[in-house]
């Protein structure tokens, strides 16, 4: 039923797109069919896959590094209270700073190549994951904690059985926010450092008014976003299976 509604809404959107493309002047908006043709063309000359591959490598390298580093630091900060209390001020400050502000600095240190791009993605994704992981550990159910202590259960065991599973919903939220910001930063990095990947094509087609090609890139980016967040949602569902279907 919901699936039918979703498909219906998609058809509505495409219809709206068609209407807009016919009524906005000077071909600023390509029609769905023109976009489809551009998509076919870009598949045929392989330019889309090349750019997609380049962007995905940057994105996934930066994002996965951010996941590992952020979860590790967040868990340590949450578990060892003095560490957490010392670092949290700085973590929150950094999380609130627009991290694209660091791009000039990153270019100075890492140049315009792959490392710089990966680092921009990393920097965008790392803070929301870290802050959420930290919050998740702090939100540990103290009643369960006391129950486990009263049984004489060891600290590592309490961590594995109570603290970590309790923090999972928070961590997954962080992963989702991080995934979105990481994708944004992938495009930003490709625009500001050596121009390449999907971000590079976006700039090129946008600047030369090849709007159908440009739309293909925008939709590809949206598709990556959907794929990543859906994967994370599936992960979340699996990890929360104990809650039962509701």
């Amino acid at each position: 039923m919901i699936v039918a509604f979703r498909v219906g809404f998609l058809i509505l959107l495409i219809g709206l797109w068609q209407v807009l493309s016919q009524n906005v002047s000077r071909n600023l908006i390509p029609s769905p069919l023109e976009t489809w043709a551009a998509f076919r063309r870009m598949l045929a000359d392989n330019s889309l896959f090349e750019a997609l591959g380049e962007s995905l490598v940057v994105y996934l390298s930066g994002y996965s590094t951010a996941c590992i580093v952020a979860i590790a630091i967040g868990l340590v900060m949450g578990t060892i209270r003095p560490v957490g209390k010392t670092l949290e001020v700085y973590a929150f400050a950094l999380a609130a700073t627009p991290r694209v502000a660091f791009i000039p600095l990153i270019i100075v240190f890492l140049g315009l190549g792959f490392e710089a791009k990966v680092f921009v993605v990393f920097l965008g994704a790392v803070m929301p994951i870290l802050v959420n992981t930290y919050a998740g550990v702090l939100a540990t159910d103290q009643n369960l904690n006391e129950m486990a202590r009263s049984l004489g259960v060891s600290r590592p065991r309490i961590f594995a059985s109570i603290v970590l599973p309790g923090a999972v919903p928070f961590i997954v939220v962080g992963l989702r926010i991080g995934a979105t910001i990481g994708l944004i930063n992938t495009v930003v990095a490709e625009l500001y450092t050596a121009v390449g990947g999907l971000g590079g094509l976006l700039a090129r087609y946008g600047n030369t008014f090849r709007m159908a090609d440009y739309f293909v890139i925008v939709l590809s980016l949206a598709a990556i976003g959907v794929a990543v967040t859906e994967t994370l949602r599936y992960l979340e569902l699996r990890l929360n299976r104990w809650r039962g279907p509701n």
């Binding site: 129950m147 049984l151 809650r243």
Partner: protein, 289 residues
């Protein structure tokens, strides 16, 4: 064994005749800032013998739960001394704890929750499983072994918590108003269930309750506590109610009725005379009229 005790063997063997749990002049306060500091217990003394069922009865906020935490070794006293099995208490399999709010791990099954208590024991995987199975069966939840806590009713949840506390076969069972958040009918069944389990395990029980009826029904002895800062005001032996008490209607016995009246009068008096209580002064003014 008495002979061994008399020739002066080390405390553990002589412990049979010694009290198993001793609180001696215990004081405990919470809060660090001088102004927010609350004195919960002052000069609290209590002795519980092996195999005895003792209820701590008193108005809310008199530190009953704190006593259990001290006996379990989750807290250390500020003053005085707590002795369990002749030494300092340490949380572990020897001491079972049943909480009012069940405290089941939501992402574990019933079996997982019960087995969790066996983690610190040296039992093998198979032994843990077998033991958990036995206790789940004992509380009548075999069909629910694979269920998660959100699928259970309050009474079932507390039975799981009871199984978890019993599965380590503790020598002392600490129970903190375990039936307070269960509906009245289930509570009565659970009380009978507890008596049955207790009579077969022989464990010492320290049972916190604010229900006079429950205290009389279950206990060998009732330690009546006064309002904060709490301490034991009176030890009342429950006499004339032979066990097993689930085999007859305890509540209709004259002994039960008398004791109930006595306890209620004491508690009413305590609350009415406690300057910290909302009811302060109501008792005395009525008497003056």
């Amino acid at each position: 064994m008495n002979q061994e005790a008399s020739v002066g063997r080390a405390a553990p063997l002589a412990a049979k005749s010694e009290p198993q749990v001793v609180l001696d002049g215990v004081g405990k306060s919470f809060g660090t800032a001088a102004r927010a500091r609350t004195e919960v217990l002052r000069d609290m003394s209590l002795e519980v013998r092996e195999g005895e069922f003792v209820s701590l009865l008193g108005p809310s906020g008199c530190g009953k739960t704190t006593v259990l935490r001290l006996v379990d070794g989750l807290l250390a006293p500020d003053a005085g001394r707590v002795t369990v099995f002749g030494g300092d208490p340490t949380p572990g399999p020897e001491l079972g704890f049943v909480f009012q709010s069940f405290r089941l791990i939501p992402w574990f099954t019933v079996r997982g929750n019960v087995e969790f208590a066996l983690a610190p024991t040296g039992l093998s995987r198979a032994e843990k499983r077998e033991r958990a199975e036995r206790y789940i069966e004992l509380v009548g939840l075999r069909r629910f072994a694979e269920a998660h806590p959100h699928e259970l009713s309050g009474g079932m949840s507390q039975r799981v918590a009871l199984a978890r506390a019993l599965v380590t076969e503790p020598r002392v069972l600490l129970m903190d108003e375990p039936f307070a958040s269960i509906d009245a009918q289930t509570r009565e069944l659970m009380q009978a269930e507890l008596m049955r389990l207790w009579s077969s395990s022989g464990a010492t029980v320290l049972f916190v309750t604010h229900s006079v009826d429950e205290a009389i029904l279950l206990s060998d002895r009732i330690a009546l506590m006064g309002p904060r800062p709490g301490r034991v005001l009176e030890n009342i032996e429950v006499e004339g109610l032979p066990r097993p008490r689930w085999s007859y209607d305890v509540r209709s016995r004259p002994e039960f009725v008398d004791l109930r009246r006595r306890l209620w009068e004491r508690i009413r008096q305590l609350v009415l005379e406690d300057p910290e209580s909302d009811f302060f002064g109501r008792g005395t003014s009525r008497e003056a009229q």
